[in-house]
Symmetry: C2
Subunit: 356 residues, 2 copies
């Protein structure tokens, strides 16, 4: 049992209350200034508005202005904030941090660090730590095939907790593991986070294969999707290793597992499908913006592409071994034809040296 | 250019005419005694009855009794026969074999060899070779995410050709590679064939996750499916390595790629779905038999389980590292509960040592 404060009352933060509360932890859910309507509902014992499903009754909810109260005596903090706001919100938490705390994070993606360099989220957090806490606090990152609503429903789920201090990952596992929410641990934070971020990017490509029938006489393109899926895993492996990570998470829940889940449905796939039907990326993005839909895979393709280029300039990889990401960048950011390019990419990827 | 005879005019054999004919090879399609209606249609220039789509016009079709004609002067023979009939049909081909021929095979699965031992299909073929041809003929096995009809349609596709003689695989690649039918090659026949056979088995498990909503308040189980997918890949890796293969094909098109494709739709998934809704395996199998539907994954689970047990008795693996296949066997052959067992399996798999 521990006192655990979740920062952010959106879909994933709220769902994470379920295994933690089921295990008898003292779980506090804090909402940002955008989450007031959620906190209202949870305090009133109503369904969570984003899930249309109740949180465990023992969960205590806190408004934006109650941060102090939410963090009182807490042992563990879980960051559940969108990737673009993660740094700012974490800064407001920093004054409450103490040594020996564990900071979990369910946020996934890339962002710019304070030097305006594209980095994975662990760096967004760690660069904000005061010097005296740099070596006395541990971060644990959560990844894997895990739709928030299914965690709340109690559906059998398996995720990976990654920390450079495996003991911290194991401690959080002990507090969160139930008979349906299953956790394995790894010390490969880089591999875990590259998958968490890049699976959205590659999923846009998988979505295109789902859209192709609309411009090709109704012909399904499941062969194409299977090929793209395989090469996406291979390229996540190249990126992970070039950044100093391993293949472990790529071939585990954060990579293979989450790519499978993400390819089944969702906004990344929807964007790809729109391009697959024959729209240019500009048209498809515009359409999604008009419907107020943000797609994580879209910036992830750009961020991933830039990171690949930087790694190449440092001789850590050869972008020729990553035709899929390169092609997705051309399609998504230069309006290159979806169909003709995916066709070429399958050829390029198959001719290449699959490093696995 | 080569003279190539395809043995078996079913879905995959017939579709394979497409890239071979597009490359200008002399392609002959021979039908078994069950294929007369297909050969009738092809000879008449009509649509292939199984695909409702025409074969390339240059393909020459041959009836069962025209085997001699079909094999006259041929350089390459492609076996495209169901796994249970493969050995018998190959025996009728043996008299026509000459040294330096390449024998390709698109058949996948297990069968009993002449000593009544369960083996992968390469052994079914090689044990029938006369001694004088044992070292002068090469076999090439085809695997990967490849629905036959999509090959015929010309959909971008990528497959793996495996041969213990990589030159033979490369030669067949040269004859078959087009701008949409893409091929890579490997010398790991075991890894390739274990994936080709076992992906059907594991797909039954993936199907269960698709059926669970029907017995669980409509709750999707995509998290469960993503976890099962990951562990299926891991277990195919264990089997491949225990049999003397590598991880290469497992992490490539025959493993990850074909599992992704197979999990999307098809009879293996349908069987799993039926069990997922709450039927016992006996009930689900009976229902499929009544509809005259055979499911490759059903025997593959048994064959795979027996091979695992044999490998364990030879200290080549520990079946505790393969809870998913073990659990699938219990569900499919001992009518163990689908839901309760899959739930336990996800826990067991996650707690285990993922060898990847």
């Amino acid at each position: 049992m521990a006192k655990i404060t979740i920062i952010g009352a959106g879909a994933m933060g709220s769902a994470f209350t379920k295994p933690l509360a089921d295990n008898g932890n003292d779980v506090r859910l804090w909402g940002t200034h955008l989450d007031d309507f959620i906190i209202d509902a949870v305090k009133a014992g109503k369904n969570h508005p984003k899930h249309n499903f109740p949180l465990p009754p023992s969960v205590k909810a806190f408004y934006h202005q109650e941060l102090n109260l939410a963090l009182q005596g807490t042992d563990i903090i879980i960051m559940a904030i969108t990737s673009d706001a993660l740094g700012d919100v974490f800064e407001s938490i920093v004054p409450y941090l103490k040594s020996d705390m564990i900071i979990g994070s369910v946020t996934k993606g890339f962002n710019y660090n304070k030097d305006n360099k594209i980095v994975l989220l662990p760096e967004i957090l760690s660069e904000r730590l005061p010097t005296e806490l740099k070596n006395s606090l541990d971060f644990v990152f959560v990844a894997g095939p895990c739709k928030a609503i299914e965690v709340l429903w109690g559906v059998p789920t398996a995720v990976t907790y990654a920390s450079t201090n495996i003991n911290a990952a194991n401690k959080l596992r002990q507090l969160a593991q139930t008979n349906v929410y299953n956790i394995n641990t790894t010390d490969d934070v880089i591999g875990t986070e590259i998958c968490a971020a890049m699976k959205n990017a590659y999923c846009v490509g998988l979505g295109m294969a789902e859209g192709f029938p609309k411009q090709k006489d109704g012909f399904l393109h499941k062969n194409t999707k299977g090929a793209l899926f395989t090469y996406a895993v291979a390229e996540m492996g190249i990126l992970s290793q070039a950044l100093g990570g391993t293949l472990g998470p790529v071939l585990g829940l954060p990579g293979i597992g989450d790519l499978e889940l993400t390819g089944e449905a969702g906004r990344n796939r929807t964007l790809g499908e729109a391009i697959g039907t024959g729209l240019s990326a500009s048209q498809a993005i515009l359409k999604m913006k008009e419907n107020d839909i943000t797609v994580e895979g879209y910036p992830a393709i750009k961020f991933g592409y830039y990171i690949m280029k930087e790694l190449e300039s440092n001789h850590r990889l050869d972008s020729k071994d990553m035709p899929l990401l390169t092609g997705l960048y051309h399609i998504l950011y230069e309006d290159a034809s979806g169909y003709e390019n995916i066709k070429k990419l399958v050829t390029l990827c198959t001719a290449g040296n699959n490093p696995l």
